[in-house]
Structure formats: C-alpha cells, structure tokens
Symmetry: D2
Subunit: 334 residues, 4 copies
Amino acid sequence: MNSFGRLFRVSVYGESHGNSIGVVVDGCPAGLFLSEKDFETDLRRRKSGAKGTTPRIEFDIPHFMSGFFNNTTTGAPINIQFENSNTRSVDYLELRDLPRPGHADFVAMRKFGGFEDYRGSGHFSGRLTLGLVTAGVIAKALLGEINITARLIEAGGMTDIEKAVDKAIEENESIGGIVECRVSNLPVGLGEPFFDSVESLISHIIFAIPAIKAIEFGSGFQAAKMIGSEHNDNIINIDGKTETNHAGGINGGITNGNDIVFRVAVKPTSSTSQPQKTLNFKTEEMEDLVVEGRHDKCIALRVPPVVEGAVAIVLADLMMMEDKIKRIYIQDDE
Amino acid sequence: MNSFGRLFRVSVYGESHGNSIGVVVDGCPAGLFLSEKDFETDLRRRKSGAKGTTPRIEFDIPHFMSGFFNNTTTGAPINIQFENSNTRSVDYLELRDLPRPGHADFVAMRKFGGFEDYRGSGHFSGRLTLGLVTAGVIAKALLGEINITARLIEAGGMTDIEKAVDKAIEENESIGGIVECRVSNLPVGLGEPFFDSVESLISHIIFAIPAIKAIEFGSGFQAAKMIGSEHNDNIINIDGKTETNHAGGINGGITNGNDIVFRVAVKPTSSTSQPQKTLNFKTEEMEDLVVEGRHDKCIALRVPPVVEGAVAIVLADLMMMEDKIKRIYIQDDE
Amino acid sequence: MNSFGRLFRVSVYGESHGNSIGVVVDGCPAGLFLSEKDFETDLRRRKSGAKGTTPRIEFDIPHFMSGFFNNTTTGAPINIQFENSNTRSVDYLELRDLPRPGHADFVAMRKFGGFEDYRGSGHFSGRLTLGLVTAGVIAKALLGEINITARLIEAGGMTDIEKAVDKAIEENESIGGIVECRVSNLPVGLGEPFFDSVESLISHIIFAIPAIKAIEFGSGFQAAKMIGSEHNDNIINIDGKTETNHAGGINGGITNGNDIVFRVAVKPTSSTSQPQKTLNFKTEEMEDLVVEGRHDKCIALRVPPVVEGAVAIVLADLMMMEDKIKRIYIQDDE
Amino acid sequence: MNSFGRLFRVSVYGESHGNSIGVVVDGCPAGLFLSEKDFETDLRRRKSGAKGTTPRIEFDIPHFMSGFFNNTTTGAPINIQFENSNTRSVDYLELRDLPRPGHADFVAMRKFGGFEDYRGSGHFSGRLTLGLVTAGVIAKALLGEINITARLIEAGGMTDIEKAVDKAIEENESIGGIVECRVSNLPVGLGEPFFDSVESLISHIIFAIPAIKAIEFGSGFQAAKMIGSEHNDNIINIDGKTETNHAGGINGGITNGNDIVFRVAVKPTSSTSQPQKTLNFKTEEMEDLVVEGRHDKCIALRVPPVVEGAVAIVLADLMMMEDKIKRIYIQDDE
C-alpha cells in the first residue's frame, strides 16, 4: 500500500513526529555511484525556510542504512533514513477532539480507530514526501540525459509568485498554486497498454503528494473544448516529432518522443491562521478553531522537487521495463 | 500490465478486430447473482448508434466463459467475452506507412516492432473499455447502496450537448467534452495512505480510458486559486458531513463520507473526417491524410458508463480491503 | 490470486465442466511466431488416454482469442482458450453431501459458501493445468537454448513405471510417483535475493499443480544428512561449473550456471475405485463412498509436461527480469 | 523482489556487515500492542551463542523506527531496525578472488557486477532472517489462538541432536538437519485457488531462508509410494476433522481445519573449517581454501524460529484475505 513501482520499487515509512522517516528503494541497479552531496540540491529545494514556508527547519540529512557499499548501489534494497529532530508535538495534543478542516485528522481517526500517530498529521504529513525526493534523486541519476523540470507557474491565482506570497503573508492566509512539469529527451515507447499508461502511472504517484487535487496532460481540460483537427499533433519527422504538443508527449498511454508536459493543482495549505468552524467531537457542538503550529503559507512553493522526484520514479521504472536501464548500471563515459 | 486492483482484480484482453475482446475478474466474492440482463443497461449506454457516435454497431452480448454457475459467481475467476463481428479491417491496411495523428499508431509500431495488431487500433482501441463497463457492472452490484453517476456536462465547449453534437456533424469535425462523476453513500475510511490514495487509484484507472487527458477532484484546478479558509470544508456532524465539498469527498487520500466528485476531460476523437498532414514513413514526406473508417464525432458521449465502471472497480477493491465486502456475498435482504 | 509472474504474467481461468478453461499471458514479448502445431506435443503429453490415465478424452485444441496476429505475438495479452466438450456432470451431482476424501470438495464448500462449481472439482480440477502447459509452450519458445526436461522416475514406489501402472490397474487402486526435472544451458544470475529466490518461485508455481506434496532441489532431503565439505560443490572453471551438483544449480537463491535439478512428489490420485469412509454432511453419519466418474490411476504420468511448463514460466519471467529476453522477440537466426 | 505478501506485506533490507538490517511491515492492522519484550523470546531462539552456533554475538535489539505510537501499531508501515555492531569484515576481504563453495559469492559477483557488499555474504547473509523472525512476532500476535511450533527433529542424520552437534564439533565439520513445523487451531478455508495455494505460499517464503533445500507437506515424498485409499484422509466430523493427516492439513491448496504439518531440509552450513578446493578467479587455478571467520557448525539449530516466523507471515496474510483479521485489531478480551 505504501509501495509503488514494478521493477524500481519505492516504499515510504515514518511519521512527522516519530523516530524517523525514510524510503526503501528495491530493484535499483547495482553500480550507481551516489554521495550524500548528490541529494543536497533537491532536498534543499524541498526544504522549508524560504519566505512563505514553515519555520520548522529539519536538517534532512540522508542516512544510507543499506544498499550502498563504497558509496555505490549494490543491487540490494536501499534504505535511506531521516531523523525527526525539530518536533513540537505539544501543539497537536489538544486537537484530538477537534479535527482540523481540510486535514486527514477525522478520516485517520476513523480508519485507524484512534490508534494513528496524530502528531503533526503523523503518516499523512507532507514530511513523507522526503521519500519521493530522495528516491527521485536516485531515479534521476539512472535516467541520464532525460531531463525533468517542474516549476511553480501560478500561486494564489497570480503568475507573479513573489507578490502572491507577500499578499498571503500580509493577509495571514494560505494559498494554493499550479506546478508545471516538463520532461525532455524521452525515448518513444515508454508506458504499457491500458492500465499502465504513462498518464495512469504519473497521476497515481502524483496524487500521493498531499495537497494535489488535479492533473492535466498536454492541453488537458482545454482539449475538451477543441476540435479534432486542431488537437491532433501532426507528425513531422521519423522520430515522431510533432508540430504541436497538445497530447503532452503521450499517445495511447505511450510516450511519443516529444516532451511530456503536465500541470497539477496544489490546494491552499489546510493549516491557516484564520479562525475556522469545526465540530468538537466530544461536546458535539461547533467551535471556533485556530490552528496553531508552524505551517506553510504556500506549500506549493515546495512541491516542484517532489513532483520531479515522483515522475523520475515512474520513468526509471518504465525505462527498466523497456530494458533501457540495465540491472548493472553503465556509466555514461564507458 | 493489463491488470488492475489488489483483491478485486480486473484484466482486459483483446483487439478491436481480433477474435474477441473480454475481461477477467479475479477475486470477486462468491454468491453474487447476475444474469446477462444485468449488464444490458450499461453496455447499451456505452454502445454506439446514437447521434454523434460511430455507425459501427456491435451486438456486445456478454458470454460468461468461467466463474459463474447457475448465474451466480463461484469465487473462481470470471471471464466474460465479447465477439467482434462487425469488423471492416480493410480500412486500416493502407495506413501502415501513415500513422494517424492523435492515434497510437506510431508509438505502437515503435514499441512492438511492427508486430502489433494495427487493425482498428488493435489493443489500443476504445473497444477495450467494454471490459471496464462489464467489470463495473459486477463491481456496482457488490457496492450495494453506493451510488455512482457520471454524465457529460459539456461537449465542444458547450453545455447544451445536443447542440454541440449537431454542430460537430454539420462541420464534419470531432469534438471533446467534460464528464463529471459523483459517488454518494460512501463510508468514511476508504483508500490507503500515501501511494494508494483514492485520488491515486481513481486517476490510475481513469487514464486507462482512451482519450482522457485530465482529471480534477472537488474544486480541482479552481482550488489553486483559493485561500485556505475558503477551501477547507467545515465539518458539521459526527459522521464527517461537511458544509461545503471543495475536497471532493477525500481528505489525505481517504474518503471522508461526503460525495466523491470529480471531472475528466475527454479530448476530441482523433479520427476526424477533415484532411490532416502527416508523415509518410516510407517516402519520408508529408502527405495529406483523410482518415476513413467509421468514427465517433464525440466519443465523450460514450464515456460516462466507462467512467462509472472504472470507479466502481476501484471502490469494490477498496471496500474489500476494508472488509466491507465479504468474500462470500451477502444479499441485502438477508 | 489466479495469476503468477512479474513481467511474464500467467493467469488461469475456467472449470472442469464449465464453458471453457484457458490461460491469459500478459507481458509476452511481441514478434514470437507460434502456430497451433507448436502446442501439440506438450498438450498431447499432458493428455489422457494412455494406460493408467482417465478415459475422459478432450480434444484440447487451443483457440487463440487475443494477442496473436498472423500467428505472431503482438505484445498484447494472449488469451488461449479450450472448450470443455466431454463432460458428464451427472456423476458429481449426488456427491454434494459426501465430500470425497483427499479432494477439495469440503474446503471449497466452506470457502465459497456452497456457490462453487462442484462439477468435476470445478476450478480445483487438474484440467486447469492445461493453462500451465499452454503458457509453458510460449515460455519455452522464448527460452531458446535453455532445455527443460521432466520425467517420471518412480511410480507406486517402483522405478519400472509400466509395471507399477499394471499393478495399479490390477489392484484397482490409484498410485503416486516422483517426477524429476532438469534444466540445462542456464545463464548465471537468474533469481532475486531473498523472497524471490529461484527455489521460492519454482516451488510456488509447482505447488499450484494439484497432487504435488513435496519438492527438493539438488540433494534435497539427503543434504540434511551430509557434512559441509561433502555437500559443497567445488567450482572448477570461471563459468562457475562445479564438480558435483548437490546444490541443484542454485546458490543463495540464484542460478549458478549448472543444471537446475529438482524432484517433486505426486500423491496418488484422490479418486480411487476402492470404497472409502466419509461423513455424510446431511445425516452426519459415516458412510461408504465409491467415487464413480472417470479417473486417472496414476495422475503422475501426466505431470511431467505440466512441471516443465511451470518451470518454463518462472524462467521466462526471470530472463525478462535480467533483460535476457527482450520485449520484442529476436529470432535466433538474426 | 525483497517483499512478500499481499495485505500483510513484509520487506527486508540490510547487509551482514553494513550499517543496519531490518524489516518493514506494511498493512499491519492498527491497535496491536507490542513492547520490545514481546520480541525477546523468538529473537533469542534465533540468536547464536549456544553450542554449535557461531561465536559472533549480536545484541539484536529491535529499534521501532516507525509505525508504533505508545507501543501500539498505528496502521502505518512498521520499520524495525537492528544494528550490526559485532562485525569483523577483514575476514572477508581476501576472498574476492576465491568464491567460497556453497556460498553465493560467485553468483552475487556475476549478478551484481562486483558491486555487491561481499562482507559476510552481505545481503545474502543468514542475518537477514532477523527480519522474518521480527515480522513473525507481529504476525503471531495477530494470529491469536493459532499455534505454530517448529523444532529440529534431526541433525547430521541423527535424532539425538545434542550428540550430533558434539560429533560435528569434534570432527570440525558442519552438519545439516530437518526441521518440522506444525500449525494448529486453524480455520478451514485459508489459501487461494491455484497459484496461491497454502503450499505455494509457505514454500515460497520458506525457500527465502538461506540453506533450505527441500520441503514436504504431510506425508510428502512418502505419499509418492502410497495408494489412494491409504493416503486419503477420511473426514470424520462436520468441522472437517480427519482420521489421519497425510494431507498435512491442506486439500486443493486450502486449509482443511486439521494441523498443517511440513518438514524442511537444512543443508550443512557452507562455511566449514575443512580445507576445500576452489577456483582462484584471478590465477584461474584451483586452490586450497580454508574459510576463516566465525561460523555455525549447525545452522539448522537456529532455523526453527525463522520457519515459525515465515509461516506466521503467510498465515497472517491469508487470515486478512479472509477478513478473519480486521484492519483495526480487536483484543481478545474485548
């Protein structure tokens, strides 16, 4: 349930305020050299601390617990673990009777009978996305020339992101945003017929990221308003290059060699400093709730490296399915 | 690859112009009574023949090949098969060097080395969705009081669907549309943490349906423009009923007891009667192509029962995961 | 549940006296040429009719329902179906209250609430092994030079199999046997660490064959009586060739390049013409039961091609895992 | 690949001389109380130190890294980790050109291109079985009244185990053994038709245990020499109790309510203090090899708790499949 992938298989574990959170990657080819340093950029991009993000700062140092020998993957399962040091669980204790609107508090309590670790959203925390970013770094290394870039193209309904964040801080409100991802240098033929279409696999993993509520490939919702001869992308060379890219690089669920392009909608952070109405499950009466704790004004700011990691995981798996990534990693310069 | 689900597991097989197409359902509880008649309504809704749909008419009679005894499921794998009778493969033979824009012709040729059954899009054909509808009928029966309704809410950019279809016919063009699906009477707690969120599973299977290019849950893309206190749904009773439903019935990937609501974008049918430019892979020159054959002007018209079936499959699986559907089916009136 | 394999995935369906039985193979590479004739030898070896086997004769003609085009695999799911023509279900109707000793009657009734198709053991019938043999023929074709040979080396405790069968017929009793399987020309390195060891995967599928009750690799049970320096196989060349083969070609769960050797025990056919005692579940009293119907005196006679097929399925999957079988099949002579 | 199970899913990671080894259990019901103390007995039984076992002593203290809150399972993935403290890797460094007979050295080098962690057999080490024992403790707790007992019934060909061990020490040789496992208080109906028979699942996981080379259920190999009326177990009451238990508690792959009984053969420890011949892969000449390091004279002594854990994992999974273990654990006394 907490695993994804067929050959390059990623599993996450951990809770926001527990001992640790981490990720296990099973099926990674042997022979891939990676040092702690290789994880730095993407982990830093996901990290909080910038304007609009939560003041909870974790060091996020990846500990290689297994699957590496001399900084090289061995072919055995990789376990990379992160400590949770900067926890202030006391914030959450009093919320047990007051499920926060927009959060998983209520559904978690019902699904797990009250046994869930509720501190800081526990296993439902966005902190779990560390696993996606970490596995994504490994996947990106395997993908070689394939380039994945995600960026925030809209926040709070505005394209000037900085202005949007300033406004949110000023109004003491949380805002959402739209992240666009583009993948280039792809081979033709990734993806499997029917259930394991590229769109199916990407959307599956993308919706594992907390706060994502929508995804569209290529022209997406706009496609519904187009006519066929307008939407169809004319093929103009024998590698499958098309004149336009309304399909977002995917036909019949299979990559067509053009860039994969998709956009996702990130809802506003559920934790907002504004008072909200919610039910007190003990008194069964409505109550004003102000969610304390340290929160992101615009969680969407931190989503791009997570989206990139998620897509890299899907593509590494599909590349292995097609024998384009071997079980023993071959360095580029060989 | 052509299978989906953990406990209620659906596999599809077949090609548009091959011997047969069908679906295998493994893990369906024993004891569910179903006659051929129970499949009629949804199969008819998916069928062509109405204005705006292809003139290729298949009888679409479900043949129960295994898993039924005295019209009752046995607990063994169910194989339901459909014959392909009304095939005119000759239409497709000459297209081998001219991959149709928007279709899977090019990617299929590259992925399967030219060995694919190319007639009528072969295994990539929308005809394969018969399997989703068929398995969906079984799933719906298991779901009892849970109600799933999908309908076309927009076609060709218009909300008056009939007018949109008339216009498409008049202009001899294909159009897309938007299908909205609503699921009511759901228990709290369906869905698994992280990778198997309800959104992940629904989007995974939805993108198996040819021509779908986008999906949004609840407020979807609109959520990206909202602020937190506006998007959050206030809980107003102890069953988790919320005042609004911006979340589309799902928090943290888990059903919250409110209606699941999502919308999907259907691109315009790739086959259009308008001339298009494409590459002749033999001559390596651009050529005018008019796609002959019998096609849907608005494939979106036939999508609602497919979406319903797909969602029913996901929910039946999740209900079994939660022990809410037993391995021996219990009739309502018992 | 009725599926096996990761990349070369085999699913079975059907019942002994239902409409059909068959097998779906998902993930088979495209481009493999196979005619009905290629299935003949193994299907005939599995067939009844010889001395010691049941007089129920089925034609066992494979119908290619999907996944083939011009007698060549397309990369789409292959469905091969067999008709059940020669059924005499009346034999089984009166047994509902008298579960036959050694059969699955009792457990099936309890597991499936009486909804199971009980005729001729239904889905539990040995007839389902047709699927293993059929998928095995495809797998063997993919395996090329890898040679799999299973043979009955003992029946009724005797190595002279013919004599054993004569004795069983004379005494009107059923007998068991031991089948030995040997696989040669294997590459080093098949199998996955820990849970997916070669022994794990082979034994998993082998125990799907009805009537198998034991398996041993290499020296097997005899190994438990040996000392280390005696059991260890000395490596004598750089391809890993060993002096002896006590390990049965597998170290640490991975093929070592020497022949895989294993033996399985087949219990005597549960249906015997001798009167047996069993409980009448209606009267709750013990009763004499003589199992009518047409049965094998020595089902072990028909097991070798099934064992071969089962092993071929495992190996084809592992060869695909190691990129040694490509997704587009390459003919030997190319 | 390093995972097993459908609903109660167990994954192992780690290497003998790496940072840590551990186990992730995904899908464990919420609400199960377990303290470190509950793991003590089985971990101690598996531990070395007794006569005939290796002098390498690890503390084997389970660290709960995730999935527990107030010593109770939360429903989120459980990660239990063990440190490797007592490592003497220097012993193994010089063996790189001299693959030890009977070990996975050669196959690992070929499969993973020399990138594997070779110290102390790395990921192939018997130390990985800690994960099975640990997950097994959790599984046993879930199984409640179901009782699993494995014991060594033969070592070095003798039933007096102590004498066998003394002899092995005296002769400075390693020996094998036979472990018998019995499971009582089982419900009827566990196991799935065809591929997921109880024998299939048990043998699959049992062969993940290093050094196991054979398994037999009930009468096992002896069954091959019996006649039908002798082997068949007469049913004597309506709960399915049988007079004899030649079937080992399983018919048609499904539990019949009688005890599951099986035996496994453990080969002699591959590391023996006797000099052996092996190929030097550098010089390509045969060489005498004496395997230094600390080893078990009779690894079979430590196998019983591992077998129990492995079987408990299978049964917990099957019990969840049958809704007999709920997703929220219900304490016995409630």
